[in-house]
Amino acid sequence: MDLVETYGEELRFARKPLARTLLILLLVALALLPWWGPRGWLTRASLVWLFAVGVIGQNLLIGYAGQISFGQAGFLAVGAYTFGHLRIAGIPFPLALAGAGAAAGLAGWLVGFPSLRLKGPYLAIATLGFGTATYQIFANVEWLSGGRAGLAIPALQPPFGLVRDTWVYLLYYAIFLLFTGTAYNLVSSYLGRALVAVRDSDIAAESMGVSLSRTKLLAFAISSFYTGVSGALMAQYLGHLEPQAFNISESMNFFVAVIVGGLASVEGSIFGAAFVVLVPALLGGFRWAVPVLFGSAILSVLILEPLGLAGLWLKTRLYFRLWPFR
């Protein structure tokens, strides 16, 4: 008998021993990817992991807290450039990563202030303004962006005689696991419930004793911390920073990932990140088809399966749980 007794248990990703074993097997297989997968997959998978961190952050804000932000590329840029400058100054990788997250988180906290008064479309425009302003600042202030030549970031030195791609992959995978685990914990904590309460009805949440301003600002800060870290990882991955990498279409990519993956779902964010990274890679030569496919995916998700890939995954699991009876 499958009896769920507590909210925490309801949210747990893998409850039964079989599911837990399968999950651990999958995680181990992914950790060993460099030793069994083709080379080309490795860089692509690293890209999925770094995207997933950012998408989870975006999903915490849009899916859980219900605050729209079109300024995601701005936080990405803040994280990436902070990371770049810290690395060039000779700060070691983990500290630079934390610094990038902290800088983006601070920016998010500041951008969160308008969210205390603005709602829905008005907030979307205010955050869009932040994204545009950040892009213009990085495009026009030479000492920040490194001018025309861009900003070159020192490459990682792999320890234990590993190949660099392998080391990058393992590092990104570990960081991804850390942030995913944190997100799962966050969502099932008091803060996670407060975020959902604010999303569903801010007036009701406030009258139940949830501090609106604290929750909203925290949502912005945490989400942009994630996005900043994702930006830093992207900076390290690219090895070279130009402001053009952080225009508005980058924000859109994150948006598509959140929607296609499924709002308010951590595993959905991972599916969504994989979708936006892998689909363009599959399409290769047909660049014009990428937006068409993204757009069609959004339309079909909202019309056919509002919970996105996560909803599809849930239904599949439910189907097999009852199989062969239904």
């Binding site: 849009i62 219900g66 729209i68 308008p114 008064r117 603005l118 709602k119 829905g120 479309p121 008005y122 979307a124 425009i125 205010a126 869009l128 303004g129 932040f130 545009t132 302003a133 213009q136 600042i137 026009n140 007036i203 009701a204 508005i248 859109m252 948006f255 598509v256 929607i259 660049r287 014009w288 088809a289 990428v290 937006p291 068409v292 496919l293 993204f294 757009g295 069609s296 995916a297 959004i298 339309l299 909202l302 019309i303 056919l304 509002p306």
Partner: protein, 293 residues
């Protein structure tokens, strides 16, 4: 002083374009509470259709008319084929906004596929370089035409919404959807008309913007963001607010670009808007629909 006047005038001309974009956005927001992010791409598709027809030797006005009809048709089809089914599925405001993003992406990809990403010059009957002197300021034929087009569009929209039965139905639908349905107003048709009219406005704005810039699949994006900002500045559910917001934004941008900083003129405009919103969260003339607890 005459310089300031000159900057104000060029700001007004740019602002009237923003106002046209903002009018379309407000029209859609008022009726369906959806922020239309596909507005730029609807305009782009329409402008490219006009471009192809002019290239094929059609007279300008015929091409413009066809483009407007085509843009409106795309919007109406989108309303019935995507928005209505999604509403039946229970998509919220956020979901519907995201649907328009989906439409934007699809149209963008198809435009690149059909017309390529290289910029083209848009042949336009009004010239950018022919200039008249009015008192202390100079005004080009094109910016005069833009101002006239925006004024005409606002006037027509005003007459339609305030003086016709259709306009009355539109206002009733935007005020209270259920009540309008109960009273026998065909709300689906009214909302579809709002979408079509908004797309038509967007195409007009696109055709008048194309000769200023070069025509490429992304030429309307900047105007969309400005239009959104203008609509928010004026108040998202106020049609006069959209015009006021557009003109204010245009002038602020032009004057700010001239006297403060040219690189950051877009940022300046957005900072202005955030400042206004912090004081008046519903825009200058907006009155947001009150929410019942």
């Amino acid at each position: 002083m005459s310089q300031l006047l000159q900057y104000t005038l060029s700001g007004l001309s740019a602002g009237s374009l923003y106002a046209m974009v903002a009018l379309g956005l407000v029209l859609i927001y008022r009726s369906t509470r959806v922020l239309n992010f596909a507005h730029a791409d609807l305009a782009t598709v329409g402008t490219f259709i006009a471009f192809s027809m002019i290239k094929a030797g059609m007279p300008f006005w015929l091409a413009l008319g066809t483009a407007i009809v085509a843009g409106a048709a795309v919007a109406v089809v989108f309303y019935f084929a995507a928005l209505v089914p999604a509403q039946r599925k229970g998509a919220g405001h956020l979901g519907q906004v995201i649907l328009t993003l989906g439409l934007a992406l699809i149209l963008q990809g198809l435009t690149v596929y059909q017309w390529g990403a290289e910029p083209d010059r848009f042949p336009f009957p009004l010239s950018d370089t022919k200039v008249w002197q009015v008192g202390p300021v100079f005004v080009s034929e094109l910016s005069l035409g833009t101002l006239a087009a925006a004024a005409a569009a606002s006037l027509v929209l005003f007459l339609v919404t305030q003086k016709t039965r259709l306009g009355l139905a539109m206002r009733a639908t935007s005020e209270n959807l259920q009540a309008a349905q109960t009273l026998g107003i065909p709300t689906r048709g009214v909302l579809a008309f709002a979408w079509g009219a908004a797309a038509a406005l967007a195409v007009v704005a696109g055709v008048f913007l194309a000769p200023v810039l070069l025509l490429d699949p992304f030429f309307m994006l900047d105007a969309l963001y400005k239009g959104l900002a203008a609509a928010v500045l004026g108040g998202l559910n106020s049609l006069p607010g959209a015009v006021l917001g557009g003109l204010l934004l245009g002038v602020a941008e032009s004057v700010g670009g001239a006297y403060v900083s040219l690189e950051f003129k877009t940022s300046l405009a957005f900072i202005l808007i955030v400042a206004v919103l912090l004081v008046r969260p519903e825009g200058l003339l907006g009155k947001e629909f009150q929410e019942r607890v």
